[in-house]
Amino acid sequence: MAFEYAPAPESRSIVDIRPSYGLFIDGEFVDGRGSSFKTVNPATEETLAEIAEASDADVDLAVRAARRAFRGWSRMSGKERAKYLFRIARIIQERARELAVLESIDNGKPIKESRDVDVPVVAAHFFYYAGWADKLDHAGLGPNPQPLGVAGQVIPWNFPLLMLAWKVAPALACGNTVVLKPAETTPLTALLFAEICQQADLPPGVVNIVTGAGSTGQAVVSHPDVDKVAFTGSTAVGKAIARAIAGTDKLATLELGGKAANIVFDDAPIDQAVEGIVGGIFFNQGHVCCAGSRLLVQESVTDEVLGRLKRRMGTLRVGDPLDKNTDIGAINSREQLERIRELSDIGEAEGAERWAPACELPSSGFWFPPTIFTGVTQAHRIARDEVFGPVLSVLTFRTPAEAIEKANNTPYGLSAGVWTEKGSRILHMASQLRAGVVWANTFNKFDPASPFGGYKESGYGREGGRQGLAAYLKEADA
């Protein structure tokens, strides 16, 4: 007999959500001059708060504040800048529970993940880059490298706080100031981060946060006084940004989409591989640009792998993001849910076979069960388009060469996975896969010391590690 889990909800009482939020400019929360929009809890469709939509004029104010602050911040000794970043890292640790709960409420991700992955890795990024601030001469970019100026940063809704940390920590460590726009569906933790900046006594204007949708992001990216653009999001928007900054002096790093192959050989440790497949595609509801969304299984073990995968999927618990037992939370928005449904329907229409374990979904909110498609070919849209949801396409292969060819047969090149017990094969596969990150016998691991970024249309530049500093520094003028 199966045992039922008792509900284990995390308390919301630690979080105080205000009814409305303004913009964070020059160290203060100010009212926006534009309109406003609502952010909702995707698990309940409850309106959480009214958020200001920054107009072009608001963005201009934020960029001016960042420019003014740049003078002092960039000239401050690295040793002192480091102390501010260490302070921020410590406050994030102090307020970890509050941040995790708020992230799960606003984004829909399970508390298990926001608590154990997102927030700890966010703190780790600030600690890691804090230590670089006074060591930039050793970053491999020549002596006395210089910051670029004002960084305009636009981040997505899948890891709202983590993406903020990836962008803000290295920018500040190098002496840049930032204007950051969080995604319109997940602005709350960025605004809580603004409070953390205040608590840390960060000089006004060093971090500015402007909330809004696409047009606000466009205003940030195209502002003439922004020196550097950092964007994480869709490939289509990444291309638009690359076009928009053509012919300017703006530099850019773009972290875009992916369609990662997770390759399982017949000698792989199957149970571990199944865990890796599940983590690879169902972590964060599959809202991960480097998700292992194409499973490539060696033909001889396909039945075994699929059998165990289906059994494992049957144990995944979908539901309340704040329940500590929840494995799969809510889809972040109605719009995204529609897209996942549409692509899944196309998968079926094109002849692939759809399977999902029986699971009861809550009656309100945005939900999609963990789903796999078998009988998928490379021509199927579900094997080519980024679904950005808990949907796995299963393909097969016979030889390593075939696996490499299929894995690389995509315009993307962000990540890949390899599962085999044979070390030499792992290294061979890793060298042949055209992707920026290769996880071997593991998947979806992140660390501030480890560079992350894509090949081909997954964008350019790296975030994390020593390489992540290159995006925010230039050689000293001779």
């Binding site: 053509a246 012919g247 016998n441 790296r462 390489q467």
Partner: protein
């Protein structure tokens, strides 16, 4: 009676062969005083596409060679060039209108630059890659890899030293190149392709097209099987700023890596630093659990 000299027909260099332009077009090359020197092939859009196909075919094998081997081959280019210094000196003198001594200096510098880059082949990964101390039981390591097919618009003025300075960093890192030479000074590039052809450089690794960067650049920048583009040769062309912008816009269609056009042609005698190489490498990070 005076001997009638044997004149050379200047051709393209694609996939290790020396074809004429498929278009049949050629153009007049004059020396710095405007005197007719030769006809050079005028590369067409189709030649660009053929060169990209040849380059793509060469990329897998070239990028899979050991760094040591690539370094040896780049050094071999320097050796063969050294042998043909008088010919290069003539070509540079004629193209650029400089004194014999200045031309000799440029050829020396070009040979020396190749030697310098040759030594980088097996060192770049050690200098810009690293082991990453992640917080967990994982082996984690990051190393550079070539981007792929790189379109190179070679400098318009520095016909040899400039050309070598943009081609060497691309190939020593394992990329392959489709190069558009200086339009008005193509002769050193033609001689350079003859050196490449006899230097153990596999066919297709470097493809050199003589022609107009303003006309060919847009096809290279828009080609979906080109991974990166070096816009150096745009400096000094008519409407350089507009052209550079339009090439960057075209390059965005498949997110090509772009090395931007300089405001004016750089001083090629200066130390290059690492950026010509790092502009065209990716960084690959590999994770593996540590356990028994």
């Amino acid at each position: 009676m005076a001997r009638i000299d044997v004149r050379k027909t200047y051709k393209l260099y694609i996939g290790g062969a020396f074809p004429r332009s498929e278009s049949g077009h050629s153009y007049e090359v004059t020396d710095s005083k405007g005197k007719f020197v030769a006809n050079a092939s005028l590369a067409s859009r189709k030649d660009v596409r053929d060169a990209v196909v040849a380059a793509r075919k060469a990329f897998g094998p070239w990028s899979s060679r050991t760094a040591y081997n690539r370094g040896q081959i780049v050094y071999r280019i320097a050796e063969v060039m050294e042998d043909r210094r008088p010919q290069f000196e003539d070509a540079v003198r004629q193209s650029e209108g400089v004194s014999a001594a200045a031309a000799r200096g440029q050829v020396d510098a070009a040979v020396d630059r190749l030697v310098w880059y040759a030594g980088w082949a097996d060192k770049l990964a050690q200098v810009i890659g690293n082991a990453n101390p992640v917080a967990g039981p994982f082996f984690n390591h990051t190393a550079p890899e070539p981007t792929g097919v790189v379109g190179v618009l070679a400098p318009q003025e520095s016909s040899l030293l400039g050309l070598v300075s943009v081609v060497a960093p691309v190939i020593v890192t394992g990329n392959v190149a489709v190069v558009v030479s200086s339009y008005s000074r193509p002769l050193p590039a033609v001689t350079f392709s003859e050196v490449l052809a006899t230097s153990d450089v596999p066919g297709g690794v470097v493809n050199i097209l003589t022609g107009d960067a303003s006309a060919l650049g847009p096809w290279l920048a828009a080609h979906m099987d080109v991974n990166a583009i070096d816009l150096c040769g745009v400096a000094g062309l008519d409407n350089a700023a507009e052209l550079a912008t339009s090439l960057e816009v075209a390059a965005a269609d498949n997110l090509k890596r772009v090395r931007r056009a300089p405001d004016a042609e750089p001083d090629w005698t200066a130390e290059p630093g690492l950026s010509p190489m790092t502009a065209f490498v990716e960084q690959k990070t590999v994770w593996h659990p540590i356990g028994i």
